[in-house]
């Protein structure tokens, strides 16, 4: 697809579907295994298409002028929470669309409606996808550029009379497996959902007047005009995809233009071969072509000529007429081809018959076995709903939340709710921590400004305690959360332009799981704390409380302790929005460099260690790593200088990132992150001792206010 790549003709145009997140939920959406599987298959395969035979079998349930690409488009949009009727209405209202382009979208909308109504277990329910995608709102707009499929958008290239999705067939075993799986799911879903829509009616059809299930008539019309030509040429013309008008046009051309030409060719063949029977003429012609094909080693020429020649011979013996013999001809060609190359391809055939099925069966067995023995999401990911600890849930809420102006005395009431998730908690202990982030040193308020500690099971009236230790209960049962409240007075002027992070840690033994720890933090902002250009933003999804606090703390640390680095990152101008976007991100963070969400984050990792946001140090590490990608864009010279750093390749790969020198841009980001903070899965020693060349370069070039970036 060269045209999508042409950057000198931005007006060529693409259509982008973007689902804007609208959730107001304050908690992350629990991961649904069916949704996750569905999305993973689509990520692995990216593009897939049903074969013509299957489409023909399903034609009663499909739009009349289906091109075929719409099935993959529908799957991708459906997986992003797009609703069929929304798409149909949006397409109808989008005046910039041409009629054919709009029809592509109507087809796609109908297929989404089919998926919405399909009753098969592999297809997630539309409500689940809508929730998992944070209740998206669909927007369609024109764009001069195309980008790869994003978690919340799909691009289509404008063709002459239709839209083609910017989806590529992924390569590799996983992609092949996913593609086969999706084709199977699509076939079942179209039957299931299509039958239901035929019986109960379709909202998309009502909205768009799309024609469903009448494709057969069109096909017949197209075939009627095109069969003679197809047969005469000895190859299949894809008439079934032609519309009625095109079919008629082909018919007209065949009658007025091609017929005389064919007549002339027939006469010529008669002279050359000495035969008057068209079938014999074609046999000679085909076999001659096949022999020439053999001579020059042209497989297509062998196959096509074989189809004509041997197919015609088959017709001679069967007595059938040429006009109906095209399928026999193709069969004969296959037989001919097999006979020609039989010995050469015997091995592959045997492999196909015996080895492939056994291998596939073995792979399926391994995969299915793995599905039963592997915990949900792998060994490192908590089950849906759990954020940090499987046994203890801690929630901390400040009231009022702020932010507050400088020079005002504020009294904040904090409420901590502790729940036992899976059984009564015993051997409980509490730890209270507080930290002030500012350009000056300041301690958090203590007694008497930390006051009115009250605690007790939620079912009872809370009691007053002098300290948190004194408020520690003997047990916390599953059906009766333990609630602690306390007040903190922040004296006016003492906390100007600061970020105060207040953390409460609970240690306890759960049944069969001693030594559990869970924590919750709340942050309060006074004035304008040093956050540089960074903004912890809810532009993707709402940040869960603890993750938000850890990210705010990370921002503050980066800006206050590594100001030269932060200044460089911010030198590009504008805000660097930091978004919580667990759907988009595979592993902790992703720099997308867009104004809405410059960097996106998640706590989990699909491939490695989770905890990118639940651990404050990890949050600082991943923030620095992703900010370094932003830095590469705004100060590209640092990347160029790094690539020429003497001796850097000898130190790679980092023990935290195996990509090594194959991806120097990742090595640059990882170097900076390790300079600021090693992650929880660090391999021991210090960054300086393990990677002295990188440490030196980071210090004198990237983190220095007077950079020395010499090699």
């Amino acid at each position: 697809m060269e045209s999508q790549n042409t950057i000198t003709q931005p007006t060529k145009g693409f259509i982008v579907f973007k689902s804007n997140l609208t959730t107001t939920s304050t908690t992350p959406v629990a991961k649904n295994p069916i949704v996750e599987d569905f999305k993973k298959d689509l990520r692995d395969a990216e593009f897939f298409k049903l074969d013509n035979k299957t489409v023909d079998e399903l034609k009663d349930f499909l739009p009349q002028n289906l091109r075929g690409d719409e099935i993959a488009s529908a799957f991708h949009l459906y997986s992003r929470g797009v609703k069929a009727l929304d798409l149909a209405k949006n397409a109808k209202a989008s005046s910039f669309l041409k009629e054919g382009e709009r029809e592509t979208l109507y087809n796609t909308a109908y297929l989404i409606e089919v998926l919405e109504n399909a009753n098969i277990p592999e297809i997630p329910r539309p409500e689940a996808l809508y929730e998992a995608n944070f209740k998206p709102e669909l927007a369609i707009y024109e764009s001069p550029f195309a980008i790869a499929p994003q978690p919340n958008q799909v691009s289509f290239e404008k063709r002459s009379s239709f839209l083609e999705p910017i989806l590529q067939e992924a390569q590799g075993r996983a992609a092949d497996f996913a593609r086969d799986k999706l084709k199977n799911i699509a076939t079942k879903a179209i039957k299931s959902g299509g039958e239901k829509l035929l019986s109960q009616g379709s909202k998309v059809v009502a909205e768009t007047a799309l024609k469903i299930g009448t494709k057969a008539a069109t096909t017949v019309a197209g075939k009627a005009a095109g069969t003679a030509i197809g047969a005469a040429l000895g190859t299949a013309i894809p008439i079934p995809i032609l519309g009625q008008a095109l079919g008629a046009a082909v018919g007209f051309l065949s009658e007025k233009l091609l017929k005389p030409i064919l007549k002339g060719i027939k006469k010529l063949l008669s002279v050359v071969t000495g035969e008057k029977d068209t079938r014999k003429q074609l046999a000679y012609l085909g076999l001659t072509g096949m022999v020439i094909g053999l001579g020059i080693g042209s497989l297509p020429l062998i196959a096509v000529s074989g189809a004509v020649g041997l197919g015609s011979l088959a017709l001679i013996t069967s007595g059938a007429v040429v006009a109906t013999g095209i399928f026999a001809s193709v069969s004969a060609a296959v037989a001919a081809f097999l006979s020609i190359s039989f010995m050469a391809i015997l091995g592959p055939i045997l492999i196909g018959i015996f080895v492939v099925p056994i291998t596939v069966a073995l792979i399926l067995f391994i995969i299915n076995s793995g599905a039963f023995v592997t915990p949900y999401g792998g060994y490192d990911i908590a089950p849906p709903g759990a954020l940090e600890n499987l046994y203890i849930e801690v929630i901390k809420e400040p009231n009022p939340e702020g932010p507050f102006a400088n020079n005002q005395t504020q009294t904040i009431t904090y409420t901590i709710t502790i729940r036992a998730r899976q059984g009564t908690l015993t051997n409980i202990s509490f730890t209270y921590e507080c930290e002030v982030f500012a350009d000056y040193d300041r301690d958090c308020p203590t007694t008497p400004d930390l006051r009115n500690i009250r605690a007790g099971p939620s079912s009872q009236t809370p009691q007053s305690y002098p300290t948190f230790q004194a408020a520690t209960p003997i047990i916390i049962s599953t059906d009766d959360p333990y609630v602690i409240t306390y007040e903190v007075v922040y004296r006016g002027g003492s906390f100007n332009d600061s970020l105060v992070i207040d953390t409460f840690i609970v240690n306890a033994d759960a049944p069969n799981a001693p030594g559990q720890e869970a924590s919750a933090a709340a942050s309060i902002i006074f004035g304008t704390p040093p956050t540089g250009c960074f903004e912890v933003s809810d532009n993707a999804a709402l940040w869960p409380g603890t993750y938000r606090t850890n990210m705010e703390r990370a921002v503050n640390t980066l800006v206050s302790q590594h100001s030269a680095f932060a200044a460089k990152v911010c030198s590009g101008g504008g805000r660097v929005n930091l978004c919580y976007d667990p759907i988009a991100v595979d592993a902790w963070g992703w720099h997308t460099h867009d104004a809405r969400c410059d960097i996106r984050f998640d706590n989990t990792s699909n491939t490695g260690v989770s905890g990118g946001l639940s651990n404050p140090n990890n949050a600082l590490f991943i923030l620095t790593h992703e900010s370094s990608h932003h830095l590469q864009f705004v100060m590209g010279s640092l990347q160029v200088a790094y690539e020429d750093l003497i001796g850097r390749r000898a130190e790679l790969p980092f023990c935290t990132d195996g990509r090594g020198d194959n991806m120097p841009t990742e090595a640059f980001a990882e170097m900076n992150a390790l300079y600021v903070q090693v992650p929880s899965y660090w391999c021991g020693g210090t960054f300086q001792s393990r990677y002295p060349i990188h440490y030196d370069f980071a210090e004198r070039c990237v983190f220095s206010a007077s950079p020395d970036c010499s090699p």
Binding site: T8, T288, V291, G295, G589, H629, F633, G636, D644, M663
Partner: protein, 186 residues
């Protein structure tokens, strides 16, 4: 079918045609390079007077001297650049230059605008490992030149020289690890 064989001598002619076409095919078959290249253009890019597709290994040794290192049994010749970490590379195929990768550092003071002043805006772009930092592969297939650079800053990392070709063939021949679209790199 046997009747057809005996009734006509057509098949004898076929055998003769087969033998002739086979022999002709052996002698006249185009070399792979010919399929990957377009005819040289007057404005084909060259490096140090070396023209990919036509210049030979001998020309390379004559112009650039002895390489600092060789890879793949002499198929790749490395020459020192202004970076000690990244050498210039000359890739040979059947004794002809297939590709030259010129390394550009900050010290070279060479920018994307220098190439654009000669060849105009790049016609095509591909995305690779460095795209997460905004460094993409910009290509002028018909002129036999491409560069890895950053549009925002005009910085260059590499300039590639190759025989003029089509974009599709460039992708498969020289940039198979690059993509048409931006990929997620975390």
């Amino acid at each position: 079918m046997i009747n057809l064989l005996t009734k006509n001598k057509f098949f004898i002619i076929l055998v003769i045609v087969l033998v002739i076409t086979f022999i002709l095919n052996l002698f006249l078959k185009e070399k792979p390079n010919d399929k990957e290249s377009l005819p040289p253009k007057s404005n084909q890019a060259n490096y140090q007077s070396l023209t990919p597709g036509t210049s030979t290994k001998e020309d390379v040794l004559d112009k650039l001297g002895k390489p600092v290192a060789e890879e793949e049994n002499g198929g790749i010749l490395n020459y020192s650049s202004s970076s000690s970490e990244r050498p210039h590379q000359v890739v040979l195929e059947e004794n002809n230059i297939k590709l030259i990768k010129e390394i550009v550092t900050l010290r070279d003071e060479k920018k994307t605008i220098d190439i654009q002043n000669v060849y105009g805006k790049p016609k095509n772009v591909l995305y690779g490992d460095r795209s997460s930092a905004g460094f993409h592969l910009f290509i002028y297939p018909e002129n036999g030149i491409a560069y890895i650079g950053q549009a925002e800053s005009g910085l260059l990392l590499e300039v590639w020289y190759f025989p003029p070709t089509t974009f599709e063939l460039f992708k498969t021949t020289y940039a198979s690890e690059y993509s048409l679209t931006l990929q997620q790199s975390q």
